[in-house]
């Protein structure tokens, strides 16, 4: 896997709905203290499913 992009979390915008955690195909994410947290960045395949369905723009793939 290329490492062109990485995951970013905007913690102050996250409302902890858990949609990203559910639809992440590689179980990269978890909810910790009512906010999204990156559990296993190495497993991320940069598919962008989390960013696509985050209603609060609190997680995204960005350039390193």
């Amino acid at each position: 896997m290329g490492t062109l992009q990485t995951l970013y979390v905007v913690e102050e915008w996250c409302k902890g709905c858990g949609i990203c955690v559910t639809f992440c195909p590689k179980k990269v994410l978890e909810i910790k203290d009512d906010k999204v947290a990156i559990k296993d960045l190495k497993a991320c395949i940069q598919c962008g499913q989390c960013e696509l369905r985050c209603p609060d723009y609190a997680i995204y793939l960005g350039g390193q």
Binding site: W13, C17, L52, R53, P55, D56, Y60
Partner: protein
């Protein structure tokens, strides 16, 4: 720091938005912005018009020409904007209550005129902002604060309504299939005429809670299960069709566009 997309097209100082945790409105709004980005439109050439309701708050968060109008009248304002500035890409963001209850008449006549406006309806099956009253899209039998024993009305099929009224691009997608929304908004903007895109979104706070549909994750997972494309739907038996939603591009037509027709009339004198 927000993503490049959000940084470019949102008024980030007004974020986080007021929508509830797990509300689908943010997903649809991002899909619209992504479609505009994919088409490479200049922000100054886009005008976002919204009415009143949860969904209509979207215009305030977006960094384009935006106008937050009165309840049900977004399409009337949009018609005026398109007439005054035909070069603008006019996009209307509206909800099920705004668009087909109080604004129902504006919808059918804007569709009838086939004016070049792209309308995106955030259909969450309920009036969220005012406390969960049932709307024209609340499915028969489902509950709202004003239908505590279940709604006895038949719900509108918005896409059939728009098609019958004369829209020349009609499509439907769910927030689970957000990529489909992006594609449909792109095609809707490209269509020279009235485009109607119904997005099925989720209201976990009112519609979900009143109808015991679980949290936002359960509701999005349900949408994944019940959404089928037109071809697959036609293969289903009557029994299997119950509770399913047809998604995809449902109608494409070609008719003269209203502003062009008007200008042709003016030039003929």
């Amino acid at each position: 720091m927000p993503s490049q997309l959000v940084d470019k097209y949102y008024r980030t100082e007004s974020l986080p938005h007021i929508w509830c945790p797990g509300c689908g409105n943010g997903i649809v709004t991002r899909a619209i912005v992504k479609a505009i980005d994919n088409l490479g439109l200049n922000q100054d050439d886009v005008c976002i018009v919204s009415g009143i309701g949860c969904s209509s708050r979207a215009s305030g968060y977006l960094d384009f020409n935006t106008i937050h109008t009165t309840h049900g009248r977004a399409l009337a304002f949009a018609t005026g904007i398109k007439f005054a500035n035909p070069k603008l890409h006019v996009i209307v963001i509206t909800g099920d209550g705004d668009c087909v209850a109080i604004g129902g008449n504006h919808l059918i006549h804007t569709a009838r005129r086939n004016i070049d406006i792209t309308t995106i309806v955030f259909n969450n099956n309920i009036y969220g902002m005012t406390g969960g009253q049932y709307s024209p899209t609340t499915p028969t039998g489902d509950r709202g604060t004003t239908a505590p024993y279940g709604n006895i009305d038949a719900n509108f099929d918005l896409c059939n309504l728009a098609k019958a009224a004369g829209a020349t691009y009609v499509s439907r997608a769910t927030v689970f299939g957000a990529n489909m929304i992006i594609k449909q908004v792109e095609n809707g903007i490209k269509n020279k005429g009235f485009s109607f895109i119904e997005t099925i979104t989720i209201c976990p706070t009112y519609y979900g809670r009143k109808n015991k549909k679980g949290d936002s994750v359960d509701m999005i997972t349900d949408l994944k299960e019940i959404a089928v494309n037109k071809v697959s739907y036609e293969k289903l038996s009557e029994e299997q069709r119950k509770g399913k939603i047809i998604v995809g591009e449902l109608y494409k037509g070609k008719r003269p566009e209203y502003v062009e027709e008007y200008n042709r009339m003016v030039e003929s004198f």
